[in-house]
């Protein structure tokens, strides 16, 4: 049973040993802390007023450098073209212009594409964008090389820029120098691209020419290189001065010591331009020749290739079709590697072996001329056997022409020799062959081209490299045959580009005929090396310091063709 305790017996005790207690929250005492009084100090941050300083340039409004727009043109262009180009074609000042105001003068001009789009700047045909770039390149330059590949329209770019410069009043007198056969071409192109600019070709008797040279009424004068020699006295010493001298096919002055080069360099002028599709034909020194006219001393003979490329970069504009014409039909190369006919081969073998023996017998009298004679003889045999007239190249050409003619197309055949051209003519009779070479008088040449263009019975034109490689527009031809190879790939390219140029509708097939195991094959390998040199010199990337074999068939290379030893040199295999 539970026992109950009484209440008085209940008692609670804290065991101080085994329990915890809280300190009292109430402080036991009060402490006084003394602080120094806060005395705030004012600190003023002054924000200076933002100031700007301005500089200004005023440009003369007189420089309205587009040709005046006629009422009809204005009506034609009243509807704005939607010419929205992603890339602006702006005139950029060359490095040689250093004064800020002058640089800004060019930079602040409206881009050419917007002028074309708004109808302020009119062309008979819409220019390609790269052509606007070409105009923008030439416009501000006092020294320039327009080195576009053949067929990209250097003539149009030069004429259009001359037109703008004349309209702006920046230039008043222009002398254009070109090879004689191209004078009429330039006059024609001026008529197309700058019909409002008076142009005259210098010609006629001495009195008439002197009058033409001195006539202030015609702002653009066209003269040929040969004539320049005859009229040297008038051009150099009668007080004439040209605001611009433009050389077409400027490779003509690559030899600095030639009379042509000397006269051209001495013409009193302010601006100097050079147009050439082949600024370098044989060696980088060709460029030095052209620069002696543009800016004497800027390049020197023997400068390393990479230095030449760097120093000339701002002066040269070079575009190839591959770079600018994405939609241009391709150029298809076909190497026709042919074996000589038995008759040709027999003649060739004996001519080579006898020739080499004769050369070796000459010993110390052996000159490069002797070797050249043998090369030419052998190359001619590769074209035709001299005794029988047999020719594997002609057989192939006739076979190919059947196809060309049957498809209604036209072809150009190039050869180094007029004699070869005459020999191939009878076999090509049914294709209506026309001839265009040095023996065709200048007066008749234009008629020949017109007939070739318009006569459906004429499917082929036979041309020599010399007469037919420059300044002709034959873009309606889709076939080019190189019956024999020229010494220089640049000349070959010019020839091919007669057909492969702006306006070409289909691919251009280039057939390069090559007699196997002959001198032609050996020369072809040297030509390939030259092509490489050219590509390197004008490549976008800076050329490497890699030592290059100089272009051109050097003396050693020519001796090397026959494994000969030059009289005063070491043997070159």
């Amino acid at each position: 049973m539970w026992k109950r305790h009484s209440t008085t017996e209940l008692r609670a005790e804290i065991d101080n040993q085994n329990s915890w207690s809280i300190e009292p929250l109430q402080p036991a005492g009060v402490h006084d802390l003394q602080f120094d009084p806060i005395q705030p100090k004012s600190l003023s941050i002054r924000v200076s007023k933002l100031h700007a300083t301005a500089t200004g340039f005023v440009f003369p409004e007189a420089n309205q450098w587009t040709p005046p727009v006629t009422a009809t043109e204005k009506a034609r262009h009243s509807k704005r073209k939607s010419y929205t180009s992603l890339q602006r074609h702006r005139i950029r000042p060359p490095n040689e212009v250093v004064k800020l105001q002058d640089r800004l003068y060019y930079l602040l001009q409206p881009p050419l594409d917007s002028l074309v789009g708004s109808g302020q700047l009119n062309f008979p045909f819409d220019p390609f964008p790269y052509q606007l770039d070409g105009i923008a390149f030439l416009f501000p330059r006092y020294a320039a090389v327009l080195a576009d590949e053949m067929g990209l329209g250097k003539t149009m770019q030069a004429i259009s820029t001359i037109r703008l410069l004349l309209c702006s009043g920046e230039i008043r007198s222009v002398l254009l120098i070109c090879p004689k056969p191209l004078v009429s071409n330039w006059l024609r192109e001026f008529q197309v691209w700058a019909p409002e600019i008076p142009v005259a070709a210098i010609g006629g008797n001495a009195t008439k020419r002197e009058f033409q040279w001195k006539s202030p009424d015609v702002p653009v004068k066209v003269a040929n290189y040969e004539l320049l020699m005859r009229d040297k006295e008038t051009v150099l010493n009668s007080g004439l001065h040209f605001d611009l001298v433009t050389l077409d096919e400027a490779q003509r002055i690559k030899n600095r010591n030639s009379t042509t080069s000397e006269i051209v360099r001495a013409i009193p002028r302010t601006r100097s331009w050079a147009l050439t599709g082949t600024p370098v034909e044989n060696s980088p020194d060709d460029l030095v020749g052209i620069f002696d006219y543009l800016s004497p001393g800027h390049l020197q003979i023997g400068m390393p290739m990479n230095q030449i490329a760097k120093a000339s970069k701002d002066y040269i504009l070079r575009r190839t079709k591959d770079m600018v014409m994405n939609d241009m039909p391709p150029k298809l190369y076909r190497d026709a590697e042919l074996d000589l006919t038995p008759e040709q081969w027999a003649t060739y073998e004996s001519a080579e072996s006898e020739g080499v023996i004769q050369l070796e017998e000459l010993q110390q009298e052996l000159t490069i001329q002797h070797v050249f004679e043998l090369v030419l003889r052998l190359k001619q045999i590769c074209n035709f056997d001299p005794s029988t007239g047999s020719s594997s190249k002609l057989e192939r050409l006739v076979a190919d022409m059947e196809e060309v003619s049957a498809s209604g197309k036209k072809a150009i055949v190039f050869s180094q020799w007029v004699n070869s051209i005459e020999k191939m003519k009878p076999a090509l009779e049914r294709f209506g062959p026309l001839e265009y070479h040095g023996r065709v008088p200048h007066k008749r040449r234009e008629g020949v081209i017109e007939q070739f263009k318009n006569d459906p019975d004429c499917s082929v034109i036979l041309m020599s490299y010399g007469a037919g490689s420059v300044g002709l527009n034959l873009q309606f031809c889709e076939y080019v045959f190189l019956f024999d190879r020229w010494w220089n790939p640049a000349v070959e390219d010019q020839a091919i580009n007669r057909a492969h140029r702006i306006g070409v509708k289909g691919a251009v097939t280039v057939t390069r005929m090559l007699a196997m195991n002959t001198i032609e094959q050996r020369i072809a390998s040297i030509l390939d090396e030259k092509r490489e040199m050219f590509d390197l010199l004008f490549s976008e990337t800076s050329p490497t310091a890699k030592p290059l074999k100089r272009g051109g068939l050097s003396r050693d290379e020519i001796f090397g063709l026959f494994d000969l030893r030059a009289p005063d040199g070491k043997k070159v295999a």
């Binding site: 301005a54 500089t55 420089n63 212009v97 250093v98 302020q120």
Partner: protein, 187 residues
Amino acid sequence: MPETESPTIGYYTVVEDEQTGWTGGLLLLNGGGRPLEFQCTLPVRPTRAHEILFGLTLRDHLIGEVIGPLLVRKCRTPIGLLCCDQPEALQIETRINCPVALVEEAAMVDEGPIDDESLVGSTQVQLAGSNLRVAVEQAERVQKLAAVLIDLPDATEPFERIREAIKEAQSQIARPQSSRVPPAAAA
């Protein structure tokens, strides 16, 4: 001479660069888009204190109150219409005697699409294939000018010219001068 007889058109923009500062350029063109005058400032470099104290209004202040009015004041050729590509520049209108327009196509790059709501009190006027935003009360005046400026090739592109010119001017500072005959000055 009435302002629509041979009107000039000014283009104003300010280039901001972390390194160099704020540089303004004013390009004055004739009706054909040719340069008549170019004014630019040396780069303005606000201090850290300016940045903190002006806060978000610094841009307004520089473009609309410091750089723009100075360039307009310096310009010797009378301006018929002033085009800008930064909305902050529109306030210059209160200080000058010509209408100020925002070129939509040029401004959109930084500002995005511009309409009546984003720019209250403005309306559109067409010029050389572009849309200009102008104050409603200036619309008629700008329309008259636009009707005369039919030869202007492009109403947006001149801003690019100013930026190119500013870049050129800045790169010139380190370039040595030469004594070549100036083609522009000679003309």
